[in-house]
Amino acid sequence: MRGGGGGSGAEPGCKMEGLTLSEAEQRYYCDLFSYCDTESTKKVASNGRVLELFRAAQLPNDVVMQIMELCGATRLGYFGRSQFYIALKLVAVAQSGLPLRVESLNTVKDLPLPRFVVSKNEQESRHTALYSSDADNPASYSGVIPPPPGRIQVKKGSVSHDAVQQRTSTDQQESTSPVVSPQQSPPTSPHTWRKHNRHPSGGNNERPLAGPGPFWAPFSEAQPGSSTSSDPIWSGHSPPPHQENWVSFADTPPTSALLAMHPASVQDQTTVRTVASATTANEIRRQSSSYDDPWKITDEQRQYYVNQFKTIQPDLNGFIPGSAAKEFFTKSKLPILELSHIWELSDFDKDGALTLDEFCAAFHLVVARKNGYDLPEKLPESLMPKLIDLEDSTEVGEQTGEVGYSSSPAEAPPSKSPSMPSLNQTWPELNQSSEDTAIVHPVPIRMTPSKIHMQEMELKRTGSDHANPTSPLLVKPPDLPEENKMSSSVKFTAGNTVTDGYSSSDSYASDPEQIGSTVTRQRSHSGTSPDNTAPPPPPPRPHPSHSRSSSLDMNRSFSVTPGQQQAGVVAYPPAVPPRPQPSQGAGPHVHRPVDAEGLIAHTSTSPQQIPEQPNFADFSQFEAFAVSGVNKEEEDEIETHSEVLQVEKPSDSASSLRGAKADGRVEDKAPANVPTSAAKGTTPLAPPPKPIRRRLKSEDELRPEAEEHTQKTGVIAAVLASQPSIPRSVGKDKKAIQASIRRNKETNTVLARLNSELQQQLKDVLEERISLEVQLEQLRPFSHL
C-alpha cells in the first residue's frame, strides 16, 4: 500500500492515495510514522504520539482539528499510514501559512517539511534537529531542509540521540524556528547537517524561495564556526560535495531547485555520509548502549547474565538443561505463555538446553519484558547467538553499502539497516538450509541422540556457527537415507537388538527404506551384524516376514492334515540342508523339522531330544553356521525369517539347543564360530540355530525345538552359520544344497497338487452355491403361499 514505507527510501517519490511526496518528505514522514508507531503495527500510529507531534508543530488547536479531519483520521478513528502522511503534509501546509485544503496537498510544490518543536522525544527532537539548521543558528528556517540525508544516517536514532538532547534545550528558545539547533552539534549529526545546510544555504541564496535565504546565510557562517567534535572524515568529505552541490544549485532553475536539490544533494551526500555516519553511528550506538537498541546487551548486563549462568552451570561452555532454565525463569513471575515464547526465541538450536549465549538472550528478553517491552516475533539480531561475535564487523560493512535509509530507529524491536537484518536473519536460515545439502559429507554420522548432543556441544564450544548443531538435527531425515553413516553407527545399531536399532533412532523414524538400508549396512559389515545374512539386501521387513509367517501358518496347517512327514518336507525356507557331512544321513531328518510342522513333530519327539539339549550348548552354533553356510540359496528366506525371528526375540532355549545340536559335528568350526556367534549376540543367534540344529541333527535330537521359535531360529541360524562356514564346507554345502533342493521340489509339487485339488473343490462348491441360490430365488415367491 505504501510506496516506500518502512525505510527503503530509495524511490524518488511515493504515490500514496493521491498524495505525492518527495523523497525527502517521504523519508521524513516515514520516520515520524515509525516513531509514532509505538505498537509496531506498521499500520497505525498511536493517537497519543500523533497528538504530541501535532502539539509540537505549534499550530493552533483548531488547525490541528481541521488537519485531523481532513486527513480522515477523525473519520476512521485512528491514524493509518496514509492518514498520517496526509496529516503531516497538512501540518507543513499550515506552518507555511497556506490555507488548509485537501487540494493543497498536491499542488503546493515546494512545501517545506513540517516542523515540530517538541523536545520530549529524542526521536522528534532528533528529527527536528536534523532538519533544523546548524547549532549556532538560532534562526529558524523553513522546512527546506536537507533533513532526510541527515536522517538517513541516523540509523536508529542513536546517532543524534545525544545531540538531540542538547539541541532540544536550546530549541525552546525560538518561537519562530521550529527547531533550535543546539549550540554545539553532537558528533555525527552536525556533520550531516552541515552538509545539508550548506546545500540549502547555497541553493537558497540563489533562489527566491520563501524565507530561507536569510536563514541560510547565518548557517553558512555558523557552519565554519561550529566545530564540535569534528569528524575527520566529515571534514574531508564535506567540502567536495559541498562544492558540487553549490555548482549544481547554480545550474538548476530556481523554481524547482528545492526539490531537485534535495535528491541530488541527498544522494551525493548520503553516499559520502554513509561511510562516516556508519562509523559515527556505531560509536553513538555504543555510547547510547541499549537505549536506542533495546535488544542490545550492555556489558554490565552481559556480565550479570554470565554470573547468573554460572550459578546454574559453572561451566561457561556447557548447557543449562531445560528444567533448570524453567525454574530459573519462572522466578521472574512472567506468565508461562510468555516464558514459553521467550524460550522459543532464544533456544536457537532447539535442543532443549541453553548455552551461554542463548541464556543471555533469554534473560535479556525477560528483562525487556518486565520493563514493558513487547516480545518480538523473531529473535533480534543482537541476541542471536552466532551474530553476537560478528555484530561489529558486519554492521559497518553493511551500512557502508547502504544508501537508502534504515527503518525508523524508533521501532521498539529495532532492526539495523534493512540489509543487515535481512542478511543476518538469512544467515541462520541459509546455514540451516545449506546444511541440509552440505552437511551430508562432512558429517556422515548417524544422528543418534547421544551423538547429536555431543556434536552440538563441541560446536557450541568452538563457537562455530550454530547451524551446525542444528544441521544434524535438521538434516537427520534427509541424511538418513543417504547411508553415509560410518560403520560405527552401524555397529551402534548392531549393538542394540535389530528391532531397537530400527526404531530407536529418532531420525530413523519408521522408514522401511532406511530400515532396509541399515539392515543392508549391517549386513555389509556382516561378521558382527547380529542376524542378517550378508548378501541380499532385504526388502522392507514387513513383507518378507509377512509372507514368511503366512507360509509358516500354511505349513503348520498343512502339517496337521497331510501329516507330519509332509510337513517336515515343506521346505521351510531356512531349511538348511544338513550341512555337516557326518550328519548327511541325518540331513533329511534335519530338513523336516525345519517347518513349523516339523516343530510339531519335534514336539512329539521332544522328550527324546530334550535330554540332548544340554549338549547343544557349544556346538549348535557352529552347526548352525555350517548349515546356514550351506544354504546359500535360501538365504533370502532365511533372512526374512531371521528378521521375523528377531522380532520375536528368540528365547534362550534356542541357544541351548544350538549347543546341543552341534555336538561333534562342527567341532572344527566351533572355535571360529563361537566368537562370531557370540559377537552376534545371543538372542538373535538363538533362534537361528534351532532350526539348523534340527536339520543337522540326523535323528530327532533336533526335534526338541518343536516350537515355532526353532523354525525361525533355524532360519536365522542357518543364515548366521552360512557366513562363517561358507568357506569351510563348500563341498558339503553343495550336496546339502542339492539335497535340500530336491526336498523342496518334492514339497512344492505336493503342495501344488494340493492346491489345485483345493481349487477344484472350491470351484465345485461355488457352483453348488450358485445353483442353490438360483433355486432359492425360484422358490421364494412361493414361500409365503
Binding site: 531445560g322 528444567s323 515464547h341 522459543e344
Partner: protein, 150 residues
Amino acid sequence: MGGGDGGGGDKMAVCIAVIAKENYPLYIRSVPTENELKFHYTVHTSLDVVDEKISAMGKALVDQRELYLGLLYPTEDYKVYGYVTNSKVKFVMVVDSSNTALRDNEIRSMFRKLHNSYTDIMCNPFYNPGDRIHSRAFDNTVNSMMMQVC
C-alpha cells in the same frame, strides 16, 4: 501474508489438527471461511480410522510401523490424511478434494514439517505435554500450510 492465493501454489490444507494420545485435541486450525465445526467433526470421526490403522499394523510389527498413515478416507469435498508419531500423537490434515495437484509426497513432507515443529515445541521446557499448543512458531508453520484464503 499474500491474500487471494486460494489453493494456488502453496500448501493447501484446509484444516490441520494435532491430537494427543488420549484422543483429545491439542491444536486445531481451520481455514476460517469454512465451517469450522464441520472440520472439527471430521477430524473427530477420522480418529476412528486412525486407530483402526494403527491396530491393523499388528502387534509384532510395531517397530516397522510407518508414521504416515496416508489417506484415511475421502469424501466428495475433501480428503483426510493421517500421521501418527511414536508417542501416539496424531496429526490429521484435511485437504480440499478439488486440489488435485497435491501429491502424496507433498502430504508426507507437510507432515514431516509438522512433526518437526511439534518436536521443537516439546523441547520447550515450559510446555507441558498434554497442554494446548500456543507456540507462535508452530502457528507459523501451520499457517504456511494452510490454504491462503483472503
